[in-house]
Every structure is written in structure tokens, then in C-alpha cells.
């Protein structure tokens, strides 16, 4: 206690200035001496002697004063405070250096923090449920002939085969029954958008179907109301839903009266039974959260799919759609659990899909489920790793830039350091002083960097979101991120501070004071600084080359011709509820809407397609040209789309041969199709395809014989789901001749009006047909294309700005080291000029020196580029990682920047007046 109390007092005294807190001591000493002197006088001494004896008796004043001060405060800490004060003064003196260093460091640290924050949120963070690390996700993989053919949801297609985390309902039931290796298995399905009506307000919500044990197994309790229970997940049970905290706040103002309210979901009345906790995002992912949780048993009602609307029970073993998870069971390894579940899966595939000799049974994989389905990994892992590497390089560059500047300064300060060493300062003390300076610099950069990152973490999610969608993705700056920033800051301070500090204090005090500029010593001293600048030029070359690659990719993508006219095209989707529009009523509905839109003022043309373009949607179906036989070993499929007769005209896709679709191609007319040029070439090589037939949509294992379709025309090739994907072989059918449009349709409206001004009349026209049908995602085709290139745009913008920063830093670095070098050689240059060297020759000499530094850096930089950019090949479009133009351009840029930075010091060297230079000596 006593010690603690004393420490606190001393800490309090730490800030006070020495002169102030010594006043009391001085006053007491004066009084003491005068009392002693008086006493000495009384004992008969002369006044002078009395005073002398008093002082002698008091003891060594300075030593006592220091001791007094040491008692009062904390000397070690105080010397640190002294260092900090001193370095702030030094940094404040050279504002130019400080601001260049702090700003470049702040940019680098801010970028690192932002990208790390994104990486953490997208790739590292686990689901917000208790013990997320215990969760396991069931997944399967099979070869090309796997028994599972009909899937709803994401699947991974590789040349070897197919895999997915989707299971049929019978598979879920049996796996759950057989399971004794994991805790109870639970299932869920993100069904995406649902049309909901809350208190008369029609809106689009995200829904998730969950099994009755979902909340129990996730160990999540609603904040109000009750969870979905096993009793709710029974066919015939009343329809209930849990709503998200976000929807609760948005639509119900967080009123507790929400429990028991009825809302309409896809036109089915559903009772709200509770609200999930604020940060719960469901089991699927952390980045997006469903608004509604409904029991699986309500699927046939609210989200009817499959042959009779139901995917439940034994009636629908073909469709694989459910995601299954379970928690690990103590003492059972993942390998054991996977083997046991694999046996169950083989059994259920054998009994429910009845595989024949040609089909194979998929194998089960047990994956980490702590991040849900972890789709963000496929989407973002590669770009984020790239950006993380880029920002790390930028930080390294900023550090080496500051190191080279500090290096030049430490040379200049050798005299000061020499004086301090000569006066008896310990080397460690001086080293600490110089390091404190770089630490202050990095702390300044770190604080500014966090401020930048704060802005970055707000901007990046906005860049990642589509303008027409509500995004729930947030990137909070949490303690982990700040800890990361703090350690990056300290590490950078050490990185750029330690070498210059070491060099500064290496100086031998005597030699420095003599003020000699020995040539040999100078050459060795300059070497380190030039190495650092070469390294900087190398990093800059790499960053600039990388930036050019991504800017080139962006440029190439912007100039891809998709094969159709993208301007003046407003698009939106309509998803009709299957309960109200079972096939073929859905086709009639869309026909009716199309006809109604066609006559609206401002609409030049309107068409609809089953699949919208450049939106990552696609359809692929079995395809067999006449004259060929079915062969399961071969890929006999083609990409397809169902469209209205006005499609080719509206989209501006040319008909190259044969005829366009027309009004006579109705449901009852003979089935007709149009092939894209590349499919026509592939399916009917060397023949005229018009009039030929092909078989499509056949699924022998499901007893679907398929349709025989006559080729009536050939159209131009287009890009389908992505601009990056070269045109694929496609066939088109009139939508009236397909079985259904169960995923709705995308409408393409050619108009010169903006989406905002035409939307009201479009909406009114659709609601005149059915007031419960919302228009989804009204946007222009160009906006859709821009959104599909978002990642490329962000990468190009970020790498380009880092590239510019790299160029600036390289410029500053080269200038700093050359200016220093010229200043050091002033007398040498003076002698040369006095001996008859021409200014031109001096100029050339300096430029030559800079060229050596720059060339080395550029050559190594190009080498580093060749080695590293191979890793980002998959992110490039239209150019190779070793694109010669890019390499040449970045080398030239760096060379020009280097020359420009050297020009000023070189001119200064050429203008040296020999007399002045020599007098200086």
C-alpha cells in the first residue's frame, strides 16, 4: 500500500517541471543555511567563516538536489518523457520531413487496417453463436456421373465432377436418424427473396427455412418470444415465423406487441412468435442475415417447388436443397464422423435415387461449419489476399522511405550525437533517444491511419453493395483490428528506426568533432542509403506494374462487346408466387404483363427472358443434335434461355440466318429454337443447321424424355452470365413453349427514360394485373454490368492509387538520397570544378550515380513482378501477368520519376561555386 501510494504521488509529479518542484527544496535549504549560520555566529565565528561552515555541513548541494529530485519523481520514466519531448521538438522543427513521413505512413497503415478489417469480417470471423468452432457442415462430392442431378443452391463444378452442401429432405431425415457421431443434425435453407406484406406494406424480405431443432442446436435464444420448436416443424402445424432484430426495428419499431402478429409471406398468413438476438445472422453466413426464419414444414405453403410443390417427405428425393450442420460430439474425431455419415449417405442415395449402372454414388465430406457455408471464401479470398499483399508492400515502401530519410538525417546528426557521446551520454541512452523519435513518428502515422481506416471501413462495404439492394454487411473497427493496427505501427517504427538509429550512434565521438569529411568513410556511409532507395525503387516498380495490370483488366472489361446493345435498357425481375400461378398460369401471367408494358408511353420496346444477362445467372440443360446418340461419357449439354419473340430485336442481337421468333410460335405450335453461332458450329459442323432438329431437356433417370426442337434461326454470340466468360454455345426457345418459368422472369425495357422516371408507370402497369406483385431490382443493364465488375473496379482503383503513392514515395526517396549525396560532396565537386570540370560533366556525374541506383531497383522490381504476378493470373482479364507493355511502361515511369527527382540536386551540384565550396571546408 505504502509503495503504491508513493508510486502514485511520484507519477503525479512526473509531468511537473524540474525548476518548479525544486523551489521547495531551495527554500528549505536557504532557511537551513541561515539558521546554521546564525548558530555558527553565536559560537564566535566570523560571518564569512560561519557561512562557509554551514555550507560544508550541509553537504554537496547538487548531489543532494538530484537525490531529492529522484525521490520526488521516477527517473527512468522521466527520461523517457524527456526523450518524447525532445523528439517532438525535433520533429516539429523539420515539418516537411515529418509531414511526408506521417502522411505516407498514415496512408499505409490506414490501408492495412481497412483491408485487414475486411479480411477479418469476410474470412476470419465465425458465426455469432456459442461455440461456433464446434459446428460441422455436411458436404458431398461426386464425379460427372453422380446420381445427384437436380440441385437447388450453390454447387462447385470442377472438371472432375461436382460437389455441394445440399441434401434432399429424405437424405436429411435418414442421416439424422442414423447419426451417432455428431450432436443432433439440423437443417436450413436460405430461400432468398420472399414477397411479404406487413400491415398493408408489400416488401421483399430474405427468408430462411429451418428445422425444428435449429435454434436448440445453435444454442440461440430469441430476445423476445419463443424459438421455432420441433412441434412447429410438423406438416399441418400452424405457420409461424421468427423475425430478425433488424426487421423488428424497421417494420415494428421494436414493439414487444409483435409476438402474435400475423404477416403475409408469399401470400400465406404467418404468425410471428419471436425476435432473434441482435447480432444473429443465421447459420448460412455472417455477412448477410435473413429477415425471416420459418420452419421447414412450411416450405410447401410459402415456397412451393418441385413436382407437387413439396420438397418434403419421400415425395421429392430428386431435389437436393437442404444444408445440414451438426456440432461435434466429445471424443469422436472428424474422420470417424465422416466415415460413419458417408455410410448413411450411400444407403440413402441407394434407396431414394435408385442409381443404375452408369451413375455413381457421391461421397460425404465433413467440413468446418463455424463460418456457415463460407461462400465469402470463394468470392473474396483471392482478391483480399491480393489487396493484403499490396497494402503490406505499400507499408514496407513507406517504411523504407522513412528509413532512407531518417538515414540522411542521422548522417547529418552525427555531429550532435558525437557531442552527446563525448559529454558522457551512454550509447543505449542515445540509441533510445533516436528510437523514440521514430516511434513518435510511427505513432503519429498510426493515429492518422486509424482515422483513415475509420473512413475506409465505412466506404468499403458501400462499394461492395449494389445500389439497388439493402446491404447488411458492416465492417466494425473492433479491438482485434485496433490491436493489429497497434502492432503494425510499433513494428513499422522499429523497422524504419532501428537501422538509422544504430548507424547514428555508431559514430566515434572524436572523429565527428574533428569535422573531417573523409572520402573513403563517406562512400561507405552513403552505401546504406542507396541500398534502401534501390529497394524502394524495386517495390515501386512492382506496385506500379501490378496497378497497370489491374487497370488494364478494368479497361479491357469496359471495352468487351457483350454481343447486345446495353444502353437505354431498363431491367427488372418479377417472381410470381407459385401458389397463385402454378404452371402454365405463370406463362400466361408474363404474357399479359409483357403486352401491357408494350403499350406504355416511353417504352420503345419490351421483352422478357427467363435468365437476365451479365448477372451471374445461367441455365444449362441436356442437348443432343440430331444424328448423335446419348453418351454419358461426353458432355452433352448446352446453355439455354427462354425468351419472348421481341427479344433479339430489343436486345439488338443480330439474326444471322433463318428467321426470328414470331407471334405464331405459341404453346400449341411446333417447338422451335434459335442457336447461337458457336453452338450451331459445334452441333452441326459443316452443315446448314436450319431445319435440323435437336433434343433438349431430357432426364432419363427422372423419366423425362425431353423435347424435340427444330432449328429455325442462327443468332449472334453474346456473353451470358459474366463479361469475363467468352461467349458460350447457347440455344433460345420462345418462353410460351417451355414448361414453366418457376424462377420468374427478367424484363428488358428499351427506353430513353431513366429507371427512376419510368419505374412508377411500370409498377402501376404490373399492379393493375396483380397488386401483390412487386418489381424487383429496377436498374439499367449498364448498372447491372458495372455491378458485375465491382471487384475489378475496386481492385483497379485501389491498386492504382497505391501505384501513384508508390511513385511519389520513390520520387521523395530518390530526391532525399541524391540531395544528401550532393551536399556531402560539395567540396569534392568544388575541387573538380576548380580543376576544370565543366558543369555539364558534374551534372552527368550526379545523374550517372542516380542511374545506377534506379536501374538496380527497376531490374529487381521487374524480376519481382515476373515472380509474383503469376499468382494473380485468375484476377486478370485480357492480358498476361508478364504483359511486355505493362513491364515496359512501369520501368519507363520509374526511370522518368527517378530522373525528375535527381534533376534538382544535379543542377545544384553543377552550380557549385568552387571558391565557396572550398571556403566552407
Amino acid at each position: 500500500m505504502k509503495r503504491l501510494k508513493r508510486l502514485l504521488i511520484r507519477l503525479r509529479n512526473l509531468g511537473s517541471r524540474q525548476s518548479v518542484d525544486q523551489r521547495r527544496f531551495l527554500e528549505e535549504m536557504a532557511e537551513h543555511l541561515s539558521l546554521q549560520t546564525e548558530e555558527n555566529l553565536r559560537s564566535g565565528m566570523t560571518p564569512a567563516e560561519a557561512r562557509r561552515q554551514a555550507v560544508l555541513k550541509f553537504g554537496p548541494v547538487e548531489a543532494i538536489r538530484e537525490q531529492y529530485h529522484a525521490e520526488k519523481s521516477l527517473p527512468l520514466l522521466e527520461s523517457v518523457v524527456q526523450d518524447v519531448r525532445y523528439s517532438i521538438r525535433i520533429l516539429g522543427k523539420s515539418r516537411g520531413f515529418t509531414s511526408i513521413a506521417a502522411i505516407s505512413l498514415a496512408l499505409a497503415i490506414g490501408a492495412n487496417t481497412t483491408i485487414f478489417s475486411a479480411m477479418k469480417r469476410l474470412l476470419l470471423d465465425r458465426l455469432d453463436v456459442p461455440h461456433a468452432e464446434q459446428l460441422r457442415l455436411l458436404h458431398w462430392h461426386g464425379d460427372r456421373n453422380t446420381a445427384v442431378t437436380n440441385m437447388w443452391g450453390m454447387s462447385d463444378n470442377t472438371p472432375e465432377g461436382i460437389g455441394a452442401a445440399s441434401f434432399s429432405y429424405p437424405a436429411f431425415e435418414q442421416l439424422r436418424r442414423d447419426n451417432h457421431v455428431l450432436e443432433d443434425l439440423f437443417a436450413f435453407k436460405d430461400v432468398g427473396r420472399m414477397n411479404a406484406t406487413i400491415g398493408g406494406d408489400a416488401q421483399i424480405l430474405q427468408g430462411e427455412l429451418v428445422s425444428g431443432n435449429y435454434f436448440d442446436q445453435l444454442q440461440v435464444q430469441p430476445q423476445i418470444g419463443r424459438p421455432i420448436l420441433a412441434a412447429d416443424d410438423q406438416i399441418g402445424a400452424p405457420a409461424v415465423a421468427l423475425i430478425s432484430a433488424e426487421l423488428w426495428q424497421r417494420a415494428f419499431g421494436s414493439s414487444s406487441a409483435v409476438v402474435g402478429r400475423t404477416i403475409k409471406v408469399n401470400m400465406v398468413p404467418v404468425t410471428v412468435i419471436g425476435v432473434t438476438p441482435p447480432r444473429f445472422t443465421g447459420a448460412k453466413s455472417l455477412q448477410s442475415a435473413p429477415d425471416l426464419f420459418l420452419p421447414l414444414s412450411s416450405q410447401p405453403l410459402v415456397e412451393p417447388r418441385g413436382r407437387n410443390g413439396s420438397l418434403l417427405g419421400a415425395s421429392s428425393p430428386q431435389v437436393w436443397w437442404l444444408n445440414i450442420m451438426g456440432r461435434t460430439r466429445a471424443g469422436i474425431s472428424d474422420a470417424t464422423a465422416q466415415a460413419a455419415l458417408d455410410v448413411s449417405l450411400s444407403a440413402v442415395v441407394g434407396s431414394s435415387l435408385r442409381p443404375d449402372a452408369n451413375t455413381t454414388i457421391p461421397r460425404l465430406d465433413l467440413l468446418d461449419g463455424s463460418r456457415g457455408l463460407f461462400l465469402s471464401k470463394q468470392l473474396f479470398a483471392k482478391p483480399l489476399e491480393l489487396l493484403m499483399a499490396v497494402v503490406a508492400l505499400v507499408l514496407l515502401l513507406a517504411c523504407s522511405n522513412i528509413a532512407s530519410l531518417l538515414f540522411a538525417r542521422s548522417m547529418a546528426r552525427q555531429r550532435e550525437v558525437g557531442v552527446r557521446l563525448a559529454l558522457g551520454a551512454g550509447r543505449a541512452r542515445v540509441l533510445r533517444g533516436v528510437l523514440t523519435e521514430s516511434m513518435m513518428l510511427s505513432a503519429l502515422g498510426g493515429v492518422l491511419g486509424v482515422a483513415l481506416a475509420f473512413a475506409g471501413c465505412r466506404t468499403l462495404p458501400a462499394l461492395l453493395a449494389n445500389p439497388w439492394e439493402r446491404s447488411q454487411f458492416k465492417m466494425p473497427l473492433d479491438w482485434t483490428v485496433l490491436a493489429f493496427t497497434a502492432s503494425v505501427t510499433v513494428l513499422s517504427g522499429l523497422l524504419f528506426g532501428i537501422v538509422p538509429a544504430w548507424i547514428a550512434t555508431r559514430s566515434d565521438g572524436g572523429a565527428c568533432l574533428k569535422g573531417s569529411t573523409q572520402n573513403i568513410a563517406r562512400r561507405r556511409k552513403g552505401f546504406g542509403g542507396k541500398m534502401i532507395v534501390s529497394f524502394q525503387v524495386m517495390l515501386s516498380t512492382l506496385l506500379v506494374a501490378g496497378a497497370l495490370l489491374f487497370v488494364g483488366t478494368r479497361f479491357n472489361l469496359a471495352h468487351v462487346n457483350p454481343g447486345f446493345r446495353t444502353n437505354h435498357l431498363v431491367i427488372f425481375a418479377i417472381q410470381q408466387p407459385e401458389s397463385r400461378y402454378p404452371p402454365p398460369k405463370d406463362l400466361q401471367l408474363h404474357h399479359q404483363i409483357e403486352e401491357r408494358l408494350r403499350v406504355l408511353p416511353g417504352v420503345e420496346n419490351v421483352t422478357l427472358s427467363e435468365v437476365g444477362y451479365i448477372s451471374d445467372s445461367m441455365e444449362n440443360t441436356p442437348f443432343l443434335p440430331e444424328g448423335q446418340i446419348q453418351d454419358p461419357e461426353k458432355d452433352q449439354s448446352a446453355w439455354n434461355n427462354a425468351v419472348s419473340p421481341s427479344f433479339f430485336h430489343t436486345m439488338g442481337i443480330p439474326i444471322m440466318a433463318g428467321r426470328d421468333f414470331n407471334e405464331n410460335d405459341t404453346a400449341s405450335a411446333p417447338k422451335v429454337g434459335i442457336l447461337s453461332e458457336s453452338l450451331a458450329r459445334k452441333a452441326f459442323p459443316g452443315q446448314n443447321p436450319i431445319g435440323k432438329h435437336f433434343l433438349a431437356h431430357f432426364h432419363p433417370s427422372e423419366g423425362a424424355p425431353g423435347d424435340l426442337i427444330e432449328v429455325v434461326g442462327i443468332c449472334g454470340d453474346t456473353r451470358y452470365w459474366s463479361l469475363k466468360q467468352n461467349p458460350v454455345g447457347m440455344f433460345y426457345q420462345p418462353y410460351l413453349q417451355v414448361q414453366n418459368l418457376d424462377f420468374g422472369a427478367t424484363y428488358e425495357v428499351r427506353t430513353s427514360m431513366s429507371p427512376g422516371s419510368i419505374a412508377p408507370s411500370l409498377r402501376a402497369a404490373v399492379q393493375a394485373i396483380d397488386p401483390d406483385l412487386p418489381l424487383q431490382d429496377i436498374r439499367t443493364q449498364q448498372e447491372q454490368i458495372d455491378a458485375s465488375m465491382q471487384q475489378e473496379r475496386i481492385i483497379a482503383a485501389l491498386t492504382a492509387s497505391f501505384g501513384v503513392l508508390a511513385l511519389l514515395l520513390a520520387c521523395v526517396g530518390v530526391y532525399g538520397v541524391m540531395a544528401y549525396s550532393v551536399a556531402q560532396r560539395t567540396s569534392e565537386i568544388g575541387i573538380r570544378i576548380a580543376l576544370g570540370a565543366l558543369p555539364k560533366e558534374v551534372l552527368a556525374m550526379v545523374l550517372r550515380e542516380a542511374t545506377w541506383i534506379g536501374m538496380g531497383g527497376i531490374i529487381f522490381g521487374l524480376g519481382a513482378t515476373l515472380l509474383t504476378t503469376r499468382m494473380v493470373k485468375s484476377l486478370l482479364y485480357g492480358l498476361q501477368p508478364n504483359d511486355p507493355a505493362v513491364l515496359a511502361a512501369s520501368a519507363t515511369l520509374l526511370a522518368l520519376i527517378g530522373l525528375a527527382a535527381t534533376w534538382v540536386p544535379a543542377r545544384r551540384a553543377a552550380a557549385v561555386q568552387p571558391m565557396e565550396a572550398l571556403r566552407h571546408e
Binding site: K2, K5, E31, H32, S34, Q36, G59, Q67, E71
Partner: protein
Amino acid sequence: MKPRADIQQGTLALMVLKTLDVLGPLHGYGIARRIEQISGDQLALNQGTLYPLLLRLEQEGAIASEWGPSENNRRARFYRLTRAGRKQLQAELQGWQQTADIVARFLAIKAETRP
């Protein structure tokens, strides 16, 4: 001239506390003089070293101080023992007494133990 004894570490604090206990509030010079007098001028004391010690004792809470008029009517800082200081003095006196007793017993051993 007899060499004067150096003061052992820690004993000076004890002397200061005891002085204040016996004489009540005193300024630094008074304490120094008193210690010299009691020791019969046998202590080699740099009077000045008293002040860092007084500061420490004050920070530890054993003594308190305030400004007051000195004998010649100038400002001097007077130190007095606090309640905590009195306790500390008791504890240290006891410890000192014990040590002194033990040392005394050793010194009292006579030659009879020798064969």
C-alpha cells in the same frame, strides 16, 4: 580526532521519526541539530541528505509538513509525525530492539565456552 561513525541505511529514518515523536513538529534544521546533539556529534551527517529522506517519508505518509514561522521569524517547513508514522515508528523500534537484544546477547558470551 576520533573518526566519526557513518549512519547505517534506514537508521536515519528511525532517528527522524523518533525525534519528531519526542519533540513534536520541527523544521529540517531542528531535526538535524537534534540528531547531532543526541549522537554527541559523533555522526558524519551531511545535513542536506535529510531533505530527500523527509520527502520520501512524507510521500509514504509517515510524516506531514506545512509552512510556519521559524525562530527568527522567517518561513520554514515544519514536519510532524502522522498516526501512520507513529505506528511505523513502533514497529521499527520493536524490530530494532530485537536486533539490539540479539546482538547484545552475542556480545555477552564470555570466554568460559572456550576449553
